[in-house]
Symmetry: C2
Subunit: 236 residues, 2 copies
DNA sequence: TCGTTCTTTGACCTGCGGTCAATCAATACG
DNA sequence: CGTATTGATTGACCGCAGGTCAAAGAACGA
Protein backbone atom coordinates (compact mmCIF):
# COMPACT_ATOMS: atom_id res chain seq x y z
CA UNK A 1 0.00 0.00 0.00
CA UNK A 2 1.92 2.93 -1.30
CA UNK A 3 0.76 6.40 -0.37
CA UNK A 4 -2.78 7.38 -1.04
CA UNK A 5 -4.17 4.65 -3.19
CA UNK A 6 -7.55 3.18 -3.59
CA UNK A 7 -7.60 -0.34 -2.40
CA UNK A 8 -9.99 -1.29 -5.12
CA UNK A 9 -8.77 -2.10 -8.59
CA UNK A 10 -9.99 -0.17 -11.59
CA UNK A 11 -12.62 2.18 -10.17
CA UNK A 12 -15.47 -0.16 -10.98
CA UNK A 13 -16.91 0.65 -14.32
CA UNK A 14 -20.18 2.41 -13.72
CA UNK A 15 -23.39 1.99 -15.62
CA UNK A 16 -25.13 5.01 -16.93
CA UNK A 17 -27.19 5.32 -13.76
CA UNK A 18 -24.06 5.73 -11.68
CA UNK A 19 -24.29 2.49 -9.80
CA UNK A 20 -21.63 -0.19 -9.98
CA UNK A 21 -22.52 -3.34 -11.78
CA UNK A 22 -24.48 -5.53 -9.45
CA UNK A 23 -22.69 -8.76 -10.26
CA UNK A 24 -19.26 -7.27 -9.61
CA UNK A 25 -20.44 -5.68 -6.43
CA UNK A 26 -21.79 -8.93 -5.11
CA UNK A 27 -18.61 -10.80 -5.92
CA UNK A 28 -16.47 -8.18 -4.26
CA UNK A 29 -18.56 -8.62 -1.19
CA UNK A 30 -18.12 -12.35 -1.19
CA UNK A 31 -14.37 -12.00 -1.54
CA UNK A 32 -14.20 -9.59 1.35
CA UNK A 33 -16.18 -11.90 3.55
CA UNK A 34 -13.88 -14.82 2.99
CA UNK A 35 -10.86 -12.56 3.32
CA UNK A 36 -12.00 -11.41 6.73
CA UNK A 37 -12.04 -14.96 7.94
CA UNK A 38 -8.63 -15.75 6.53
CA UNK A 39 -6.89 -12.64 7.80
CA UNK A 40 -8.50 -13.07 11.19
CA UNK A 41 -7.49 -16.67 11.50
CA UNK A 42 -3.94 -16.44 10.24
CA UNK A 43 -2.84 -12.85 10.51
CA UNK A 44 -1.85 -10.63 7.66
CA UNK A 45 1.28 -12.18 6.27
CA UNK A 46 0.32 -15.79 6.79
CA UNK A 47 -2.97 -15.41 4.96
CA UNK A 48 -2.62 -16.33 1.30
CA UNK A 49 -4.57 -14.80 -1.52
CA UNK A 50 -4.51 -18.11 -3.30
CA UNK A 51 -6.32 -19.78 -0.40
CA UNK A 52 -8.97 -17.14 -0.35
CA UNK A 53 -9.54 -17.59 -4.05
CA UNK A 54 -9.57 -21.36 -3.70
CA UNK A 55 -12.20 -21.26 -1.01
CA UNK A 56 -14.37 -19.16 -3.30
CA UNK A 57 -13.75 -21.49 -6.19
CA UNK A 58 -12.24 -18.76 -8.33
CA UNK A 59 -8.81 -18.03 -9.74
CA UNK A 60 -6.26 -16.00 -7.83
CA UNK A 61 -6.09 -13.56 -10.70
CA UNK A 62 -9.75 -12.76 -10.22
CA UNK A 63 -9.13 -11.44 -6.76
CA UNK A 64 -6.64 -8.96 -8.14
CA UNK A 65 -9.22 -7.82 -10.64
CA UNK A 66 -11.31 -6.61 -7.77
CA UNK A 67 -8.62 -5.41 -5.39
CA UNK A 68 -5.41 -3.70 -6.29
CA UNK A 69 -3.27 -5.73 -3.98
CA UNK A 70 -3.25 -7.88 -0.89
CA UNK A 71 -2.93 -4.70 1.16
CA UNK A 72 -5.97 -3.30 -0.55
CA UNK A 73 -7.98 -6.41 0.11
CA UNK A 74 -7.00 -6.35 3.73
CA UNK A 75 -7.94 -2.73 4.05
CA UNK A 76 -11.39 -3.36 2.69
CA UNK A 77 -11.83 -6.32 4.98
CA UNK A 78 -10.70 -4.25 7.93
CA UNK A 79 -13.10 -1.46 7.11
CA UNK A 80 -16.02 -3.77 6.77
CA UNK A 81 -15.21 -5.47 10.05
CA UNK A 82 -14.80 -2.23 11.94
CA UNK A 83 -17.99 -0.80 10.60
CA UNK A 84 -19.85 -3.68 12.13
CA UNK A 85 -18.87 -2.65 15.64
CA UNK A 86 -21.55 -1.13 17.83
CA UNK A 87 -21.20 2.52 18.81
CA UNK A 88 -20.87 3.50 22.44
CA UNK A 89 -24.21 5.20 22.35
CA UNK A 90 -26.00 2.16 20.96
CA UNK A 91 -27.00 0.79 24.33
CA UNK A 92 -30.37 0.10 25.91
CA UNK A 93 -32.16 3.20 27.13
CA UNK A 94 -32.03 1.86 30.65
CA UNK A 95 -28.26 1.94 30.57
CA UNK A 96 -28.06 5.32 28.88
CA UNK A 97 -30.13 6.79 31.67
CA UNK A 98 -27.53 5.81 34.20
CA UNK A 99 -25.00 8.05 32.60
CA UNK A 100 -21.53 8.08 31.18
CA UNK A 101 -19.63 5.86 33.54
CA UNK A 102 -22.28 3.21 33.80
CA UNK A 103 -22.31 3.10 30.05
CA UNK A 104 -18.59 2.58 30.10
CA UNK A 105 -18.95 -0.26 32.53
CA UNK A 106 -21.73 -1.72 30.46
CA UNK A 107 -19.55 -2.01 27.40
CA UNK A 108 -16.55 -3.31 29.24
CA UNK A 109 -18.60 -6.03 30.82
CA UNK A 110 -19.95 -6.97 27.43
CA UNK A 111 -16.68 -6.97 25.54
CA UNK A 112 -16.18 -10.66 25.85
CA UNK A 113 -19.62 -11.55 24.60
CA UNK A 114 -19.38 -9.17 21.73
CA UNK A 115 -16.15 -10.68 20.66
CA UNK A 116 -17.50 -14.16 20.87
CA UNK A 117 -20.38 -13.20 18.61
CA UNK A 118 -18.21 -11.44 16.10
CA UNK A 119 -14.86 -13.05 16.50
CA UNK A 120 -13.29 -12.45 13.12
CA UNK A 121 -14.26 -8.80 13.00
CA UNK A 122 -12.60 -8.16 16.30
CA UNK A 123 -9.60 -10.22 15.39
CA UNK A 124 -9.00 -8.45 12.11
CA UNK A 125 -9.23 -5.18 13.99
CA UNK A 126 -6.37 -6.40 16.14
CA UNK A 127 -4.39 -7.56 13.17
CA UNK A 128 -4.86 -4.19 11.55
CA UNK A 129 -3.82 -2.33 14.65
CA UNK A 130 -0.81 -4.37 15.62
CA UNK A 131 0.04 -6.83 12.92
CA UNK A 132 0.57 -5.23 9.56
CA UNK A 133 2.98 -2.89 7.93
CA UNK A 134 3.33 0.69 9.09
CA UNK A 135 2.32 1.97 5.68
CA UNK A 136 -0.95 0.12 5.91
CA UNK A 137 -1.28 1.18 9.50
CA UNK A 138 -1.20 4.77 8.38
CA UNK A 139 -4.05 4.21 5.95
CA UNK A 140 -6.00 2.49 8.67
CA UNK A 141 -5.49 5.39 10.95
CA UNK A 142 -6.78 7.84 8.45
CA UNK A 143 -9.87 5.74 8.19
CA UNK A 144 -10.36 5.57 11.94
CA UNK A 145 -10.06 9.32 12.31
CA UNK A 146 -12.58 9.92 9.59
CA UNK A 147 -15.08 7.28 10.63
CA UNK A 148 -14.88 7.23 14.40
CA UNK A 149 -16.22 3.68 14.37
CA UNK A 150 -16.89 3.50 18.08
CA UNK A 151 -18.58 6.84 18.09
CA UNK A 152 -16.60 8.21 21.00
CA UNK A 153 -17.22 11.78 19.92
CA UNK A 154 -20.91 11.40 20.59
CA UNK A 155 -20.11 9.52 23.72
CA UNK A 156 -17.92 12.26 25.13
CA UNK A 157 -20.50 14.80 24.11
CA UNK A 158 -23.09 12.85 26.00
CA UNK A 159 -20.99 12.83 29.13
CA UNK A 160 -20.29 16.52 28.95
CA UNK A 161 -23.91 17.46 28.44
CA UNK A 162 -24.75 15.54 31.55
CA UNK A 163 -22.02 17.33 33.40
CA UNK A 164 -20.26 14.10 34.23
CA UNK A 165 -17.03 15.04 32.52
CA UNK A 166 -14.53 17.71 33.39
CA UNK A 167 -15.20 20.88 31.48
CA UNK A 168 -11.62 22.11 31.72
CA UNK A 169 -10.45 19.40 29.35
CA UNK A 170 -11.14 19.76 25.67
CA UNK A 171 -13.12 17.09 23.93
CA UNK A 172 -10.15 15.77 22.01
CA UNK A 173 -8.00 15.23 25.02
CA UNK A 174 -10.79 13.51 26.87
CA UNK A 175 -11.57 11.39 23.87
CA UNK A 176 -7.98 10.45 23.26
CA UNK A 177 -7.46 9.28 26.80
CA UNK A 178 -10.64 7.30 26.63
CA UNK A 179 -9.74 5.72 23.35
CA UNK A 180 -6.19 4.89 24.30
CA UNK A 181 -7.00 3.24 27.56
CA UNK A 182 -10.15 1.50 26.42
CA UNK A 183 -8.41 -0.02 23.45
CA UNK A 184 -5.51 -1.27 25.47
CA UNK A 185 -7.63 -2.51 28.30
CA UNK A 186 -9.84 -4.50 25.99
CA UNK A 187 -6.86 -5.82 24.08
CA UNK A 188 -5.28 -7.01 27.29
CA UNK A 189 -8.52 -8.58 28.41
CA UNK A 190 -9.04 -10.43 25.19
CA UNK A 191 -5.74 -11.43 23.80
CA UNK A 192 -2.93 -13.13 25.49
CA UNK A 193 -0.53 -11.52 23.06
CA UNK A 194 -1.21 -8.13 24.52
CA UNK A 195 -1.77 -8.77 28.18
CA UNK A 196 0.89 -7.16 30.32
CA UNK A 197 -0.06 -9.52 33.10
CA UNK A 198 -3.26 -7.92 34.29
CA UNK A 199 -5.51 -10.83 33.63
CA UNK A 200 -3.34 -13.86 33.37
CA UNK A 201 -0.77 -13.57 36.06
CA UNK A 202 -2.49 -15.16 38.99
CA UNK A 203 -5.56 -17.18 38.41
CA UNK A 204 -7.99 -17.44 35.53
CA UNK A 205 -9.30 -14.50 33.59
CA UNK A 206 -12.97 -14.44 34.63
CA UNK A 207 -12.20 -13.95 38.29
CA UNK A 208 -9.86 -11.09 37.78
CA UNK A 209 -12.03 -9.53 35.16
CA UNK A 210 -14.78 -8.13 37.34
CA UNK A 211 -12.41 -6.52 39.74
CA UNK A 212 -10.28 -5.08 36.98
CA UNK A 213 -13.23 -3.53 35.23
CA UNK A 214 -14.31 -1.94 38.46
CA UNK A 215 -10.84 -0.55 39.05
CA UNK A 216 -10.61 0.67 35.52
CA UNK A 217 -13.88 2.56 35.50
CA UNK A 218 -12.91 4.19 38.76
CA UNK A 219 -9.60 5.21 37.24
CA UNK A 220 -11.24 6.83 34.28
CA UNK A 221 -13.77 8.52 36.49
CA UNK A 222 -11.01 10.13 38.48
CA UNK A 223 -9.09 11.13 35.41
CA UNK A 224 -11.77 12.70 33.30
CA UNK A 225 -14.85 12.83 35.51
CA UNK A 226 -16.19 16.09 36.86
CA UNK A 227 -16.32 16.79 40.58
CA UNK A 228 -19.89 15.74 40.92
CA UNK A 229 -19.22 12.15 39.88
CA UNK A 230 -16.27 11.54 42.17
CA UNK A 231 -17.28 8.79 44.51
CA UNK A 232 -14.40 9.15 46.89
CA UNK A 233 -13.99 12.33 48.85
CA UNK A 234 -10.61 13.91 48.29
CA UNK A 235 -8.44 16.31 50.14
CA UNK A 236 -10.41 19.21 51.64
CA UNK B 1 8.59 -16.59 14.35
CA UNK B 2 6.81 -19.74 15.32
CA UNK B 3 5.97 -20.36 18.93
CA UNK B 4 8.68 -20.21 21.49
CA UNK B 5 11.86 -20.10 19.53
CA UNK B 6 15.16 -18.51 20.03
CA UNK B 7 15.75 -15.89 17.48
CA UNK B 8 19.39 -16.84 17.31
CA UNK B 9 20.52 -19.64 15.09
CA UNK B 10 22.28 -22.66 16.57
CA UNK B 11 22.64 -21.80 20.24
CA UNK B 12 26.12 -20.40 19.78
CA UNK B 13 28.65 -23.03 20.51
CA UNK B 14 30.20 -22.17 23.84
CA UNK B 15 33.83 -22.46 24.82
CA UNK B 16 34.74 -24.27 27.95
CA UNK B 17 34.55 -21.09 29.99
CA UNK B 18 30.91 -20.67 29.05
CA UNK B 19 31.31 -17.57 26.99
CA UNK B 20 30.43 -17.41 23.33
CA UNK B 21 33.24 -17.06 20.90
CA UNK B 22 34.30 -13.46 20.76
CA UNK B 23 34.52 -13.19 17.01
CA UNK B 24 31.03 -14.53 16.46
CA UNK B 25 29.70 -12.32 19.15
CA UNK B 26 31.20 -9.23 17.62
CA UNK B 27 29.85 -10.03 14.21
CA UNK B 28 26.40 -10.68 15.55
CA UNK B 29 26.54 -7.29 17.12
CA UNK B 30 27.52 -5.61 13.91
CA UNK B 31 24.70 -7.30 12.05
CA UNK B 32 22.18 -6.18 14.63
CA UNK B 33 23.37 -2.62 14.44
CA UNK B 34 22.93 -2.41 10.71
CA UNK B 35 19.62 -4.24 10.96
CA UNK B 36 18.31 -1.66 13.38
CA UNK B 37 18.96 1.07 10.88
CA UNK B 38 17.34 -0.80 8.04
CA UNK B 39 14.24 -1.84 9.93
CA UNK B 40 13.88 1.64 11.36
CA UNK B 41 14.17 3.31 8.00
CA UNK B 42 12.00 1.00 5.95
CA UNK B 43 9.75 -0.88 8.28
CA UNK B 44 9.69 -4.59 8.77
CA UNK B 45 8.53 -5.98 5.48
CA UNK B 46 10.28 -3.50 3.23
CA UNK B 47 13.66 -4.11 4.84
CA UNK B 48 15.62 -6.75 2.95
CA UNK B 49 18.07 -9.13 4.51
CA UNK B 50 20.14 -9.01 1.35
CA UNK B 51 20.61 -5.26 1.74
CA UNK B 52 21.69 -5.62 5.31
CA UNK B 53 24.25 -8.22 4.31
CA UNK B 54 25.43 -6.13 1.40
CA UNK B 55 26.02 -3.12 3.60
CA UNK B 56 28.15 -5.26 5.88
CA UNK B 57 30.01 -6.71 2.93
CA UNK B 58 29.01 -10.26 3.75
CA UNK B 59 26.83 -12.88 2.11
CA UNK B 60 23.15 -13.14 2.84
CA UNK B 61 23.66 -16.72 3.96
CA UNK B 62 25.94 -15.50 6.72
CA UNK B 63 23.17 -13.53 8.31
CA UNK B 64 21.08 -16.67 8.59
CA UNK B 65 23.97 -18.41 10.28
CA UNK B 66 23.66 -15.97 13.11
CA UNK B 67 19.91 -15.52 13.20
CA UNK B 68 17.29 -18.11 12.58
CA UNK B 69 15.16 -15.95 10.40
CA UNK B 70 14.28 -12.41 9.47
CA UNK B 71 11.84 -12.40 12.38
CA UNK B 72 14.59 -13.47 14.69
CA UNK B 73 16.92 -10.77 13.47
CA UNK B 74 14.23 -8.19 13.93
CA UNK B 75 13.51 -9.38 17.43
CA UNK B 76 17.15 -9.04 18.43
CA UNK B 77 17.31 -5.61 16.88
CA UNK B 78 14.16 -4.60 18.71
CA UNK B 79 15.51 -5.86 22.00
CA UNK B 80 18.78 -4.05 21.63
CA UNK B 81 17.05 -0.82 20.71
CA UNK B 82 14.62 -1.01 23.58
CA UNK B 83 17.35 -1.81 26.05
CA UNK B 84 19.04 1.41 25.11
CA UNK B 85 16.14 3.44 26.44
CA UNK B 86 16.72 5.25 29.70
CA UNK B 87 14.81 4.01 32.74
CA UNK B 88 12.36 6.29 34.47
CA UNK B 89 14.50 6.32 37.56
CA UNK B 90 17.63 7.35 35.70
CA UNK B 91 17.13 11.04 36.21
CA UNK B 92 19.18 13.68 37.99
CA UNK B 93 18.91 13.58 41.76
CA UNK B 94 17.43 17.05 41.76
CA UNK B 95 14.47 15.80 39.76
CA UNK B 96 14.08 12.62 41.77
CA UNK B 97 13.75 14.67 44.90
CA UNK B 98 10.72 16.42 43.54
CA UNK B 99 8.80 13.21 43.42
CA UNK B 100 6.82 10.98 41.11
CA UNK B 101 4.82 13.44 39.09
CA UNK B 102 7.64 15.85 38.54
CA UNK B 103 9.68 12.96 37.29
CA UNK B 104 6.91 12.13 34.88
CA UNK B 105 6.87 15.66 33.63
CA UNK B 106 10.63 15.63 33.32
CA UNK B 107 10.62 12.67 30.96
CA UNK B 108 7.72 13.92 28.91
CA UNK B 109 9.47 17.21 28.38
CA UNK B 110 12.58 15.39 27.29
CA UNK B 111 11.02 12.91 24.90
CA UNK B 112 11.59 15.05 21.91
CA UNK B 113 15.29 15.36 22.51
CA UNK B 114 15.72 11.76 23.37
CA UNK B 115 14.12 10.70 20.15
CA UNK B 116 16.23 13.02 18.12
CA UNK B 117 19.36 11.59 19.68
CA UNK B 118 18.34 8.00 19.23
CA UNK B 119 16.05 8.06 16.29
CA UNK B 120 16.32 4.53 14.99
CA UNK B 121 15.81 2.96 18.39
CA UNK B 122 12.49 4.72 18.86
CA UNK B 123 11.48 4.07 15.36
CA UNK B 124 12.11 0.35 15.58
CA UNK B 125 10.18 0.34 18.81
CA UNK B 126 7.24 1.71 16.87
CA UNK B 127 7.69 -0.80 14.10
CA UNK B 128 7.79 -3.61 16.60
CA UNK B 129 4.70 -2.43 18.41
CA UNK B 130 2.51 -1.68 15.46
CA UNK B 131 4.13 -2.87 12.29
CA UNK B 132 4.93 -6.55 12.38
CA UNK B 133 3.11 -9.81 12.56
CA UNK B 134 1.02 -10.78 15.56
CA UNK B 135 3.15 -13.85 16.14
CA UNK B 136 6.17 -11.65 16.56
CA UNK B 137 4.14 -9.25 18.59
CA UNK B 138 3.47 -11.96 21.12
CA UNK B 139 7.19 -12.53 21.53
CA UNK B 140 7.72 -8.83 21.91
CA UNK B 141 5.08 -8.61 24.56
CA UNK B 142 6.65 -11.41 26.52
CA UNK B 143 9.92 -9.58 26.37
CA UNK B 144 8.40 -6.32 27.50
CA UNK B 145 6.68 -7.98 30.43
CA UNK B 146 9.81 -9.79 31.47
CA UNK B 147 12.34 -7.03 30.98
CA UNK B 148 10.41 -3.90 31.87
CA UNK B 149 12.72 -1.83 29.69
CA UNK B 150 11.45 1.51 30.94
CA UNK B 151 11.73 0.38 34.51
CA UNK B 152 8.20 1.38 35.41
CA UNK B 153 8.07 -1.16 38.21
CA UNK B 154 10.77 0.68 40.09
CA UNK B 155 9.13 3.91 39.14
CA UNK B 156 5.77 2.91 40.54
CA UNK B 157 7.47 1.53 43.60
CA UNK B 158 9.16 4.85 44.09
CA UNK B 159 5.89 6.70 43.90
CA UNK B 160 4.22 4.36 46.34
CA UNK B 161 6.99 4.58 48.87
CA UNK B 162 6.66 8.32 48.80
CA UNK B 163 2.93 7.99 49.28
CA UNK B 164 2.21 9.80 46.06
CA UNK B 165 0.30 6.95 44.49
CA UNK B 166 -2.95 5.36 45.48
CA UNK B 167 -2.40 2.39 47.69
CA UNK B 168 -5.68 0.74 46.75
CA UNK B 169 -4.39 -0.04 43.28
CA UNK B 170 -1.90 -2.82 42.76
CA UNK B 171 1.39 -2.19 41.04
CA UNK B 172 0.39 -3.98 37.86
CA UNK B 173 -2.68 -1.91 37.26
CA UNK B 174 -1.00 1.36 38.07
CA UNK B 175 1.92 0.45 35.87
CA UNK B 176 -0.21 -0.66 32.96
CA UNK B 177 -2.20 2.54 32.94
CA UNK B 178 1.01 4.47 33.07
CA UNK B 179 2.56 2.50 30.27
CA UNK B 180 -0.46 2.65 28.02
CA UNK B 181 -1.04 6.34 28.30
CA UNK B 182 2.61 7.29 28.27
CA UNK B 183 3.22 5.26 25.14
CA UNK B 184 0.37 6.80 23.29
CA UNK B 185 0.96 10.27 24.51
CA UNK B 186 4.56 10.10 23.41
CA UNK B 187 3.46 8.70 20.11
CA UNK B 188 1.17 11.64 19.72
CA UNK B 189 3.87 14.11 20.66
CA UNK B 190 6.35 12.58 18.32
CA UNK B 191 4.12 11.78 15.47
CA UNK B 192 5.71 14.37 13.29
CA UNK B 193 9.22 13.13 13.73
CA UNK B 194 8.52 9.44 13.71
CA UNK B 195 5.74 9.00 11.27
CA UNK B 196 3.33 11.78 10.41
CA UNK B 197 -0.16 10.47 10.18
CA UNK B 198 0.43 7.28 12.06
CA UNK B 199 -1.64 8.22 15.03
CA UNK B 200 -4.79 10.13 15.38
CA UNK B 201 -4.08 13.75 15.81
CA UNK B 202 -6.07 15.05 18.69
CA UNK B 203 -7.94 17.61 16.72
CA UNK B 204 -6.64 21.16 16.78
CA UNK B 205 -3.23 20.17 18.01
CA UNK B 206 -1.25 23.37 17.80
CA UNK B 207 -1.75 23.87 21.47
CA UNK B 208 1.63 24.36 23.11
CA UNK B 209 3.39 21.16 23.91
CA UNK B 210 4.03 22.49 27.39
CA UNK B 211 0.36 22.93 28.01
CA UNK B 212 -0.53 19.51 26.76
CA UNK B 213 2.08 17.92 28.95
CA UNK B 214 0.69 19.84 31.86
CA UNK B 215 -2.81 18.60 31.15
CA UNK B 216 -1.59 15.11 30.77
CA UNK B 217 0.34 14.98 34.01
CA UNK B 218 -2.67 16.37 35.79
CA UNK B 219 -4.78 13.63 34.28
CA UNK B 220 -2.47 10.93 35.47
CA UNK B 221 -2.25 12.51 38.88
CA UNK B 222 -5.98 12.37 39.25
CA UNK B 223 -6.15 8.80 38.01
CA UNK B 224 -3.45 7.15 40.04
CA UNK B 225 -2.29 9.79 42.53
CA UNK B 226 -3.05 9.49 46.21
CA UNK B 227 -5.18 12.06 48.01
CA UNK B 228 -2.23 14.01 49.24
CA UNK B 229 -1.01 14.91 45.77
CA UNK B 230 -4.34 16.11 44.39
CA UNK B 231 -3.94 19.76 43.56
CA UNK B 232 -7.57 20.50 43.04
CA UNK B 233 -9.96 20.20 45.92
CA UNK B 234 -12.83 17.90 45.15
CA UNK B 235 -16.30 17.33 46.37
CA UNK B 236 -16.74 17.52 50.16
C1' DT C 1 52.33 -29.55 9.19
C1' DC C 2 48.33 -31.84 9.21
C1' DG C 3 43.77 -32.81 10.81
C1' DT C 4 39.57 -31.00 13.00
C1' DT C 5 36.19 -27.73 13.70
C1' DC C 6 33.89 -23.60 12.87
C1' DT C 7 32.70 -19.89 9.42
C1' DT C 8 31.57 -18.16 5.01
C1' DT C 9 29.92 -18.36 0.68
C1' DG C 10 26.80 -18.07 -3.29
C1' DA C 11 24.25 -20.97 -6.21
C1' DC C 12 19.92 -22.80 -5.66
C1' DC C 13 15.11 -23.69 -4.06
C1' DT C 14 10.49 -22.33 -2.82
C1' DG C 15 6.33 -19.82 -2.07
C1' DC C 16 3.65 -16.10 -2.92
C1' DG C 17 2.22 -11.52 -4.67
C1' DG C 18 1.23 -9.73 -8.86
C1' DT C 19 0.68 -9.53 -14.37
C1' DC C 20 -1.31 -10.40 -18.77
C1' DA C 21 -2.54 -12.45 -23.20
C1' DA C 22 -5.87 -15.54 -24.38
C1' DT C 23 -10.43 -17.33 -23.59
C1' DC C 24 -15.13 -17.24 -22.17
C1' DA C 25 -19.84 -15.18 -21.13
C1' DA C 26 -23.10 -11.84 -21.52
C1' DT C 27 -25.28 -8.28 -23.52
C1' DA C 28 -26.35 -5.20 -27.60
C1' DC C 29 -27.51 -4.84 -32.14
C1' DG C 30 -28.89 -5.83 -36.96
C1' DC D 1 -31.40 -15.66 -34.21
C1' DG D 2 -26.53 -14.77 -35.47
C1' DT D 3 -22.88 -11.97 -34.80
C1' DA D 4 -20.13 -8.10 -32.78
C1' DT D 5 -18.49 -5.85 -28.83
C1' DT D 6 -17.32 -5.49 -24.37
C1' DG D 7 -16.18 -6.93 -19.88
C1' DA D 8 -15.09 -10.92 -16.72
C1' DT D 9 -12.22 -15.02 -15.88
C1' DT D 10 -8.53 -17.75 -16.16
C1' DG D 11 -4.07 -19.90 -15.30
C1' DA D 12 0.47 -19.90 -17.08
C1' DC D 13 4.09 -17.05 -16.06
C1' DC D 14 7.38 -13.61 -13.72
C1' DG D 15 10.24 -11.66 -10.11
C1' DC D 16 11.47 -11.07 -5.68
C1' DA D 17 12.93 -12.17 -1.21
C1' DG D 18 13.43 -15.50 2.57
C1' DG D 19 15.71 -19.49 3.53
C1' DT D 20 18.96 -23.90 2.60
C1' DC D 21 23.14 -26.37 1.96
C1' DA D 22 27.21 -28.55 -0.03
C1' DA D 23 31.55 -27.09 -0.79
C1' DA D 24 35.43 -24.02 0.06
C1' DG D 25 38.02 -21.45 3.33
C1' DA D 26 40.02 -19.87 7.88
C1' DA D 27 41.42 -20.69 12.46
C1' DC D 28 42.87 -23.47 15.84
C1' DG D 29 45.08 -27.40 18.41
C1' DA D 30 48.42 -31.04 18.73
Amino acid sequence: MEGITTSLAKPTRLRRDGKPRPRSEAKRGRIVEVAIRHFAERGYSAARVEDIAAQLGIAKGSVFQHFKSKDGLFFEAYKKAVQSFPKYMQAPAAVLEQGFFELLRYWLARTENMVRDNWSAYRIYLVGNYGTDLALRREINRFLVAEDPYGWRDFVDFGRKRGELRSDLDVDMTGSILEWTMDRFQDALLTEELDPGLFRKSGPVPQEKEARIEQFVELIRRAIGSDKVQTVARKH
